[in-house]
């Protein structure tokens, strides 16, 4: 429960779209199952006054917040408009935006995240599956049937690979405290270190699984910043080298970014790195 609990009120922005409406329904089914509040309002400009699966839709976030208590928004707005929507949420006073949307232009993402920060609003994603605290809260699109409640926290840059790991953990009787998909884009809001800082404060979490990918150095930065026992897995060991980004990429990142180098640096920090996804539950068991 690091980003909210069953009492958390949620807005879905882009509620009348196909994805938005479908997942609004699933989120509320989950809320009902755990006795939670769930989605209280939807927002789609121009569609105010409609309903989606029994939930009222408003033209703006401000309008929605006049009628409902919500601290959190889940975003399904298409890529070109999503940056603007994140800023709208932040300006209206929403504390957490979970941006599911993929293909947001990176300049929009950078601006929206910086603007949200000015308003004290945290952004998860974009291009992420969201957050799930089993038995408490589902924000986003994760398939809740694979999850079980327990003491392992999971942070991941990937969607389906997260489900894979969660599925393996659940089958082995290892429950999860909260699972956070931070998104696969080069620029994201909450990074490994931000999320780990929240897990550190969470009494339910006893161990961490960190699922990274090729590119950047946020895994190393995050893993080095926590005292929680942690196992990492990095996807992309067999990936061909990325297309070079001029000289600037090489100068800015040095040797960072490729999966093998990342694994080497993590091991250098004394962190256990699984070679295969199926090894993760065994290593986690050692921690519990």
């Amino acid at each position: 429960m690091i980003y909210g609990d069953r009492k958390t009120g949620v807005i879905v922005q882009g509620a009348t779209g196909q994805q938005g409406a479908f997942h609004l329904k699933l989120m509320n089914e989950y809320a009902k199952e755990v006795g939670g509040t769930g989605v209280v309002a939807g927002v789609t400009p121009g569609k105010g006054g409609q309903e989606v699966h029994g939930i009222p839709v408003y033209d703006s976030v401000r309008d929605a917040l006049l009628e409902h208590d919500a601290t959190t928004a889940v975003l399904f707005v298409p890529g070109g408009a999503a940056g603007d929507s994140i800023m709208e949420e932040a300006e209206a006073g929403v504390e957490l935006v979970v941006a599911i949307t993929e293909h947001i232009p990176v300049h929009d993402t950078m601006r929206a995240i910086a603007y949200a920060k000015l308003h004290g609003c945290a952004v998860i994603g974009p291009n992420c599956p969201g957050v799930l605290s089993p038995g408490e809260l589902k924000l986003g699109i994760m398939p809740s049937s694979l999850f079980s409640r327990g003491h392992v926290g999971v942070i991941s840059r990937s969607g389906t690979l997260t489900y894979e790991v969660v599925d393996e953990l659940t089958r082995r009787g290892i429950g999860q405290s909260t699972v956070v998909g931070i998104g696969g884009d080069p620029v994201i809001g909450q990074t490994f270190s931000d999320v780990l800082a929240r897990f550190e404060e969470d009494p339910a979490t006893k161990a961490m699984v960190l699922i990274g990918e090729v590119g950047g150095n946020l895994e190393e930065e995050g893993a080095g910043s926590t005292d929680l026992p942690l196992v990492a897995y990095i996807a992309g060991v067999s990936a061909p080298p990325e297309k070079r980004m001029g000289h600037a990429g090489a100068i800015a990142e040095g040797g960072e970014g490729d999966a093998k180098g990342k694994i080497r640096r993590l091991r250098g920090l004394g962190i256990r790195v699984a070679d295969r996804v199926s090894e993760i539950p065994d290593i986690v068991t050692d921690f519990l």
């Binding site: 603007y115 599956p129 690979l161 067999s238 001029g246 000289h247």
Partner: protein, 361 residues
């Protein structure tokens, strides 16, 4: 998508960054149109989307009298396997001093990273490694519309004041053109002032549409077909065809093949929520590759429904063996459909990969 040098230079010139005089030609004879450029010599530069062009012989300085001949030579060459279809003809610039300037997206600070060095050229990376302080860096918040004066002073140091104006203009290009990289190497100091002797501009793939770019030239034919159908595909050199959903899970499947000493023929991520038709196309695209002797399907249903996936595999009807791992939404129905048709199904990714490795080509 990476723009060609001449396209980047046109954009730079419109934004007030001086560029050499000249233009692009598509046949050697057209070079004659540019023989009225100042000086006795011209520079011919192959327009290809790969780095290391200069070292591969793609840049030729020639007397004007021999320019057409040299252009013929250049058009007959390939650079790293890529045919030369366009050549940029430019005035030969007597360069007094070279600088390095670049602006890129910084993942950690979530803003722009500006780089400047008082020496430029192809060896800039060696310099950065040998003497990291020779490349000055500043980070800039996306909420600041232009580069503040103090930053320009810090970056440029003792370089001419004019460099600051170029940095300012390049930052404008970086923002307005949705660039993930804008680079000038070298930025040349000449008798008529600062000139961008080379230009590199990479536009964010997620912003191509609003930048008016219809086709992403960085993608191969097969990759483009894949993209149009909502999945992503990359050709690799091995024999095991791979289909997964989600980049991470697909990548992990490839890693597992490597772990067990096999080799994958491709990366194919069918994307979220793939239906029967998309899965069918994906299976057929992978099977078309003559090196593929077995196909591994590793799908975890979330938005994607396993029954739809099963129908797609069945209707693709390919000749190679298909080994399937399905889990998640509507898993039972998917398994039932595949079992009816005699498809091989295994419970986890390690098992499907090991089974695929036992198939002989």
């Amino acid at each position: 998508m990476k723009l060609l040098e001449y396209e980047a230079k046109e954009i730079f010139a419109r934004s007030g960054i001086p560029t050499p005089q000249g233009g692009v030609v598509r046949v050697p004879e057209e070079v004659e149109k540019w023989l009225n450029l100042p000086g006795d010599r011209v520079v011919l530069k192959a327009q290809v989307e790969v780095g290391g062009r200069g070292k591969a012989g793609g840049v030729v300085i020639t007397e004007k009298s021999e320019a057409v001949l040299k252009a013929r030579d250049l058009f007959s060459k390939t650079i790293k396997g890529i045919a030369i279809r366009e050549v940029l003809v430019e005035e030969f610039l007597p360069i007094q001093k070279e600088f390095y300037l670049a602006i890129t997206v910084d993942r950690s600070s979530k803003g722009a990273l500006l780089l400047f060095a008082e020496s430029g050229g192809a060896d800039i990376e060696d310099l950065a490694e040998r003497d990291p302080r020779a490349v000055r860096r500043t980070l800039l918040s996306p909420l600041v519309p232009e580069v503040p004066q103090f930053m320009l002073r810090y970056l440029t140091g003792k370089a001419p004041k004019e460099v600051g104006q170029v940095i300012q203009a390049l930052y404008r290009v970086f923002r307005e053109k949705d660039a993930i990289l804008a680079e000038i190497n070298p930025l040349a100091s000449t008798a008529r002032g600062m000139v961008a002797a080379d230009a590199k501009l990479i536009v964010d793939d997620n912003a191509l549409k609003r930048q008016g770019i219809a086709v992403n030239r960085d993608l191969s034919m097969r990759e483009r077909v894949a993209e149009e159908n909502g999945f992503s595909y990359v050709d690799l050199a091995g024999t095991i065809g791979v289909i997964g959903n989600g980049a991470g899970l697909t990548m992990a499947t490839l890693d597992l093949i490597e772990y067990y000493k096999g080799s994958a023929a491709n990366f194919l991520d069918v994307g979220g929520g793939a239906g029967e038709e998309r899965v069918k196309l994906a299976v057929q695209l992978v099977a078309e590759n003559p090196s593929v002797n077995v196909i591994v399907v590793n799908l975890l249903g979330g938005i994607t429904r396993c029954d739809e996936v099963a129908r797609g595999i069945i209707s693709a009807g390919v000749s190679q063996r298909v080994i399937v791992r399905l889990a998640g939404t509507n898993e039972e129905e998917g398994r039932r459909l595949l079992a009816e048709r005699g498809y091989e199904m295994l419970g986890n990714m390690d098992e499907v990969v090991r089974a695929a490795l036992e198939v002989k080509g």
